[in-house]
């Protein structure tokens, strides 16, 4: 990688073009990007627009510009500001889906293992682990005071006597602590096959190699059980 005098990486135009072409090749792209006359409805309704330098109107305009350099400008922080609420998609009078384009661009950023994507996803690794290894995205034992100090002192309630409190929930599927519900190993194995086939494990390997190793160890255990 080449760098300019400010230490910013110099990305060749050809690479930017390749990224843009990859986005346009996605089978959803044409449905998400139609025409846009800058009416501003999407941005007017966009929740993160009120807190971030992020505007779905700009996302659409940059895509319509056909300028790979403009699309490239969004590939680092910009795409990660979106809340994925799909307000824009619901209210656009021309049926564009800026939120949908963001999803496509994020997929590219993680598939390609961009440094910005890795950085953004670092604190997300616990969810990725639970999800890919066990088929759940969140578990009761993840709600710990040290992870969520800003959620107040009551958050400690969940970490005390957790197994007992979970046992008291009148649904057998919920009487576990390391998973949101007790997923059968056979079910997990089906999920592994899906992730293998769909290339999900490959993505994890690219964005977080050490997490990938941990996940693979767990999967081996489950598969051999």
């Amino acid at each position: 990688m080449e760098y300019d005098e400010n230490g910013v990486s110099i990305v060749p135009f050809e690479f930017k073009k390749e990224i843009f072409e990859e986005a346009k090749k996605d089978f959803r792209y044409e449905e998400y990007v139609r025409g846009c006359l800058n009416c501003g409805v999407c941005t007017g309704g966009c929740p993160p627009h009120r807190f971030f330098d992020f505007s779905p109107r700009i996302v659409l305009q940059k895509c319509k510009s056909n300028d790979p350099a403009l699309v490239w400008e969004m590939m680092d922080e910009y795409i990660w500001a979106c809340f994925q609420c799909f307000t824009c998609a619901m209210i656009c009078p021309f049926l564009n889906s800026p939120g949908g384009v963001i999803a496509i661009l994020r997929e590219i950023a993680v598939r390609r293992g961009f440094e910005s994507a890795k950085r953004v996803l670092k604190p997300y690794s616990r969810v990725l682990l639970k999800l890919t290894a066990y088929g759940n995205q969140l578990s009761p034992d993840m709600i710990q005071p040290d992870f969520f100090p800003d959620w107040g002192p009551h958050i400690g309630y969940a970490s005390q006597d957790l197994p007992l409190k979970r046992k008291a929930i009148p649904m057998p599927t919920l009487q576990v602590t390391n998973l949101a519900w007790d997923v059968a190993p056979e079910t997990m194995k089906e999920l592994y096959t899906i992730f293998d086939e769909a290339g999900v494990f490959k993505i994890i390997e690219v964005v977080d190699p050490s997490l990938y190793e941990i996940i693979m160890d767990i999967i081996d255990d489950v598969r051999s059980s």
């Binding site: 929740p47 994925q84 049926l95 009148p170 057998p172 089906e190 290339g199």
Partner: protein
């Protein structure tokens, strides 16, 4: 203040003679799905008479069939992990109403929270997970009921993508072959809040407390009504048919006051990624855009939600607000939990409000619920369990 509140209270129950239009040039996915079935391209999980369906009107005036019986619970990670009273309240009502269902271990997450947060999946992965879970309901002869709004939104989207793209169908079929399953698609994608909505008058018959002094504000979930909006319930008698009717419908049916507020359309600030990795954004959003308007404009006693992430985000982020001078607080719970409270479900054993952060006790007191007694009983119950006692379950695995 009084005048303002009155005006905001009038809106939810406003009715109109409006006509829906299906002007938007969109494909009718339901018809296309049935065509694919006729061609033998896919199998469809139909809503049968034994599912005791009820009908509701959607945004474009299409009739949506909502099955009420013989259901397969597609649970939500965040609810089961963090808000256990949410699914428990659903099961509690199903038992009360004598409806059949299965809740089992053979279900995966929809994986869509992760996808919308991190981008670490793709349409093939998401669609295959969806079909895998749909097929599990299918082989049991049940209809799947989705507890989470993100599951609901994602599965609606996956259904549409599968119906419209043969390549995607073929890829998913290939994967289903490998795990011994088939490509099946439900006739309708149904969210639990829709189930609550169509049964709201039945549920209201079970009411134990007078709620006429309780002011409710509703936070509608983006992934319910903003993703594939044509599949969402609207009702001429609720918000004059201009806003999605679920959750508001049950609150009104229970006799509570529903108040409007200026940021009704705003999301909760969850952001999928932000709730974990950019928490200050979620926090600010919660206080500035939701809780403060709900309290200041509507004098709200309780915020009613219809989704996992919203409930968590809105509940957990109020405490830290105090550090920034945000003194407004309002308890947060889902529509079905609020209904369960109103119908006499135990605060601790069923509605499980003990896991919630924002103080819900004043609400219980306003309704007339003796939460202290409930707490004592719960503590005693925990001691019984600690001593080796057996859980009194709402449901047991089929033997």
């Amino acid at each position: 203040m009084a005048v303002e509140i009155k005006n905001r209270l009038d809106l939810a129950a406003k009715s109109s003679d409006y006509m829906h239009i299906a002007g938007r040039k969109i494909e009718n996915i339901h018809e296309e799905l049935l065509e694919l079935e006729a061609k033998g391209e896919v199998k469809v999980i139909h809503i049968k008479d034994e599912n005791k369906p009820l009908y509701a009107e959607t945004l474009f005036g299409w009739k949506k069939k909502i099955p009420t019986n013989k259901l397969w619970h597609h649970k939500s990670c965040g609810q089961c992990g963090n808000i256990p009273g949410y699914p428990v309240s659903v099961l509690w009502f199903m038992n009360k109403l004598g409806l059949e269902y299965i809740d089992e271990r053979n279900q995966t997450s929809c994986t869509a929270w992760n996808y919308h947060g991190s981008g670490t999946s793709n349409p093939v992965g998401l669609a295959a997970v969806a079909v895998r879970n749909w097929h599990r309901a299918y082989e049991l002869g049940l209809f799947p009921l989705f507890h989470c709004a993100t599951t609901f939104g994602d599965y609606k989207e996956m259904r549409n993508l599968l119906v419209e793209n043969k390549e995607l169908r073929d890829e998913v079929k290939k994967i289903m072959n490998k795990i011994g399953r088939e490509l099946v698609i439900p006739e309708e994608i149904v969210h639990y809040s829709e189930w609550v909505h169509v049964l709201r008058f039945e549920i209201a018959k079970l009411k134990k407390y007078d709620l006429s002094d309780v002011i409710v504000t509703v936070h509608p979930a983006c992934h319910c009504y903003k993703m594939i909006p044509e599949d969402c319930i609207y009702d001429k008698e609720i918000y004059a048919g201009k806003r999605t009717a679920v959750s508001t419908g049950i609150a009104l049916a229970l006799g509570a006051k529903v108040a409007d507020y200026s940021t009704w359309y705003d999301c909760c600030g969850f952001g999928f990624r932000h709730i974990l990795t950019e928490r200050e954004a979620s926090r600010s959003f919660v206080m500035d855009r939701k809780i403060r308007p709900m309290v200041r404009e509507a004098n709200s006693d309780v915020c009613i939600t219809q989704d996992t992430g919203c409930t968590t985000t809105l509940d957990k982020n109020q405490w830290i607000g105090k550090a920034m001078g945000y003194t407004e607080q309002v308890p947060v719970m889902s529509d079905v939990m609020f209904a369960a409270l109103a119908c006499g479900a135990d605060v601790f054993k069923i509605v499980q409000l003990q896991w919630h952060t924002t103080d819900w006790r004043p609400l219980c007191e306003k309704i007339g619920i003796d939460w202290k007694k409930s707490e004592e009983e719960y503590k005693a119950y925990l001691e019984e369990l600690r001593a080796g006692g057996k859980t009194v379950n709402l449901y047991e695995y089929p033997s």
